[in-house]
Subunit: 417 residues, 2 copies
């Protein structure tokens, strides 16, 4: 099946918003093996949408529309398509129920123009909207599937995943289950990762192994097709094992894990407390960790020691040590970690110091960062980074690397216990 994604909305053409819906839908369709051939954006203009429809149904057999389902007169997606394909709009009780329910939940008064949103194509499959008012719909006409979805991503995304995908799987007669498992990496670049596992990438068809690089990390998505989820997972398991044997040290989690969620999980599950002393990151490390629900059980707090003299006055870091080794040094990172650990009486103390840029710091070149992690009364571990980004990219990467090394260390300690 060939799909075209058609976004309707003048705000997209004015450059006021980005068409993230097209990316979301495309990635989900790729997972179920439907090829997207085109993405189109057109304004809130019935004549131009009609022309787009004429072109699209000649070159694709699944047309997915986003936007223009709301109650105002700008919203004309349904009305234009209904004329184009020669069907009628009928009020759908289920859809009206969603809308009434939405007004009840939000405590607002429902006006007449909102009833317009309950109109769906005759015979359409209604796609419930759990996050807003306008329901989606799906209908087949002359061999072409028309799927209409609301524009706001927080309404469209769950509707697409929960209702449109199952509908499309049914329509394609696809009885296979598609299951993915995502391996999350840190501390390795996309090119390096691909080079190391090239043999696995080359030979795989089921499961497929797809690398994806984001701003500062890489993931591998392993996707298998089979008659059941268990069978699909059984296809994935040996390939994951092969990958772990080669680059397992860089894998910090799976699926929805993030560096901070994984670190928080390890801390909370083991009942460990933590504090941090941050220089160049100035709170980024602690703030990321504090974003995780339940972290209050482990996170005591920290000290931001931005200027040299406060490293001495607030943490009692030895001024002679700073004179001898410098602020951007292994010794300073270790001293920050043990000082804050002692000061906050926590199991773990983390210290971060470095030259974020734009100019060298205390004689060390831009991008040099030292991380120290103290665990109970063991000798603190230290880690050195050489970063090459902008000032704020270097600061963020330093905080993320500290979370990554923390996960590595805590996983090791957990394994020993």
């Amino acid at each position: 099946m060939k799909a075209e994604i058609i976004a309707v909305g003048s705000e997209l053409l004015l450059g006021q918003i980005t068409n993230t819906n097209a990316k979301f839908i495309s990635s989900k369709l790729a997972e179920i093996g439907i090829d997207v051939y085109y993405q189109t954006v057109v304004g809130d203009n019935p004549a131009r949408l009609d022309e787009v429809l004429t072109i699209a149904r000649q070159r694709a057999d699944v047309l997915i529309f986003t936007g223009g389902l709301g109650p105002t007169k700008d919203d004309m997606t349904k009305e234009t398509i209904v004329k184009h394909i020669g069907t009628t709009l009928v009020s759908d009780d289920e859809a009206l129920g969603y809308i009434q329910n939405y007004f009840e939940r939000s405590g607002r008064v429902m006006t007449d123009n909102n009833k317009k949103q309950a109109l769906v194509f005759k015979g359409a499959h209604v796609l419930p909207n759990r996050k807003g008012m306008a329901p989606g719909m799906a209908v087949e006409k002359d061999g072409v599937q028309y799927i209409l979805l609301p524009g706001p991503p927080h309404e469209m995304e769950p509707m697409f995943t929960d209702a449109a995908i199952p509908y499309l799987l049914g329509a394609t007669g696809n009885k296979e289950v598609i299951t993915s498992r995502v391996l999350k990496f840190y501390g390795i670049g996309e090119a390096d990762l691909e080079y190391r596992i090239q043999a696995i990438l080359d030979k795989q068809t089921n499961p497929t192994v797809a690398p994806l690089a984001t701003a500062d990390a890489v993931t591998l998505r392993l996707t298998a097709k089979a008659q059941s989820t268990d069978e699909a997972l059984a296809l994935i398991a040996p390939i994951e094992e092969e990958i772990r044997a080669i680059v397992g040290e860089f894998i910090y989690g799976i699926d929805d894990d993030t560096l901070s969620s994984k670190a928080a999980e390890l801390l909370i599950q083991n009942g460990w407390t933590i504090s941090a002393a941050e220089s160049l990151t100035a709170g980024l490390f602690t703030a990321e960790l504090a974003g995780e629900p339940g972290i209050g059980a482990s996170l005591e707090g920290g000290v931001i020691v931005y200027n040299e003299k406060v490293k001495i006055s607030q943490l009692g870091v030895d001024s002679e040590l700073l004179d001898e080794f410098g602020i951007v040094s292994e010794e300073c990172a270790a001293a920050l970690a043990t000082s804050v650990q002692r000061k906050f009486a926590t199991d773990i103390g983390v210290g971060l110091t470095g030259a974020a840029g734009p100019s060298p710091h205390d004689g060390e070149p831009v991008g040099t960062v030292w991380i120290g992690i103290a665990y109970k009364d063991e000798e603190p571990k230290t880690y050195k980074l050489f970063l090459s980004g902008s000032r704020n990219a270097n600061r963020l990467r330093s905080a993320r690397f500290a979370l990554y090394y923390l996960i590595q260390l805590l996983t090791e300690i957990e394994g020993q216990n």
Copy 2:
């Protein structure tokens, strides 16, 4: 003039990346009065790109292409268009110079396939690439403008602004200058802002006044057309004055100002030092401020007091005060501000405490936040927020509101001096 933006790249159709280029180009074209009627995405497929070209040149007279200018065999934008419009490719000395220069700068060895990138349409206007290898180009054929740009946003954006926009202004014969001034707001919603200045929004045509809401803030863009920049600014000035008279209290800066850059500017220019004690934000406030170059002159550091007992042990906040008023209280915010100010011996101390969610904190409902700001030996100012977002949205908004109130207070003090 009617424009269509055509992105070429299978990675877009697979949902691996978002088409941010279309948004960028659309917003820039809107500024110079060129209407975008369509945005199209097609894969790295010559036959389908050719069909897209046939459709596009019938419905638009400016076609802007992004992507597919690189050295690999996937890159076929130029080759497809050259056949379609019936011209030839010639090696351009200027373009070859850019590529050779790029290799020299990056210290890499230039291979033969890179010379392909120096091929441009015969008679084309070459658009220099300051950030990468592949030059862009612009050519007019049978009344249609073809503008080809590289795909990576960091290459495309400066090329579009610096070279494509002046080319288009020349092509449109537009001798007018277009100048914008952006007013940055915080602490007011888009709907409320529009309601308060509705009379101004309704009557304006030159300058136009365009509101734009981002995730947690609103801006107003005032855009004037005139024969010179000075004339355009003279048209903007009285309207800006009218707006400031109504909603000036919410304006914290202009153009590229951010909350943190504006706060940093006020601190550095006045030689004031600052420290912060953060509870729910856990470092977000200090980390945002630390993102500004030169802030080392003002920012001493801070304390993250995530758990109650560290508020007492690390900052010496009176335990009786916490018992009497609670952790989420005006009194606690003021005590955090004055304690950290004293501890770090700074001119200014900022305190943040609140219930970020998901559960109430110390009896206060989710979303209740108190901010305290102490300036020298004056009575600390306090501010209360009621936020309604998710846990992490509330944390980020609390840090931003603290920057906003800091800007307000410092501006007032600066005015008194």
